[in-house]
Subunit: 68 residues, 6 copies
């Protein structure tokens, strides 16, 4: 019955549907392996966040990407 | 003053504006009826999630819909 | 398959287990009635928040309760 | 290491990238000033919510905006 | 830079610190393997939820556990 | 009408009620200054997270604190 929310950068950096499926499968298996949680009721939601809307170190990821 | 967040599948499965309004009204009334919470300060946010980004039973909802 | 998160004040203002059960049942029925969502996979999580940790109007709920 | 999530109305009311950058910088500085939190590991995520999907006082923000 | 939130039942069902560490390590490795995300900035937060506060199928997990 | 959620480490590292009040006031003022948001309807929720339950760099904050 666990609920998992994964937030990662979207847009050009967004994962493909295959990669998303791999994340969903992987985290569901992890919860089964470590805590014996039932995969049938494990819920996973992936949020793709625009790099303008994600900040770290006091600046947006958009700005950080430019500086590299 | 309660805060409610409702996540449901979007895209083709997204609710209409009328259905969203009904959810907002319904959950606000529920909190007033059960806990006497003030409707004026009850906040509700609805997130529509792409079926690729929602997993249950270790696979995405997109995959599950195909199998039916 | 909807996911609902309800945040409300805890401590002395916390709902009883019966009231929580009523919220869970009520919001699950609302999603079934309005959007025909399957109750078996509707997940509801209630968070009880300390009044020191909840702010509105720029001050904590603890402060607001004192002023009344 | 704090994590901050800011939800505000999007669409026509969405902040500009400059305003978002100002929010990210401002909240990161606030956490450093008040709690001495390391800005390098402070994470901020801004969610823009459609006015149809945001409810207060039992009705959507879209409806409230019309009434004014 | 991903952010992951895992919610699971707490109290008697709460994971041990070792199990939590295994979840944190496992999900961080998964994001590195699938999406090449930097583990150093991957943040994971685990929330333990009381069984009274978690609902599925229209009833609390506390109630469901009794029926078995 | 913005909603802000701040997650930070709790337990021995938890902020005092005064510090929490300062965070609530500060973030509410920031949203008013940058986006002209109405402070009366700005909601702030602070979550204090146990260091066992917070991971970064693939390990819990509890582990990281020991290594210093």
């Amino acid at each position: 019955m666990p609920y998992v929310n994964i937030k990662l950068t979207g847009g050009k950096e967004a994962p493909t549907p295959q990669q998303k499926a791999e994340l969903i499968r992987g985290v569901t298996e992890l919860l089964q392996r470590v805590l014996n949680k039932n995969p049938q009721t494990t819920m996973v939601i992936i949020d793709e966040v625009d790099t303008d809307n994600w900040g770290i170190g006091g600046e947006s990821v958009t700005e950080r990407r430019k500086q590299k």
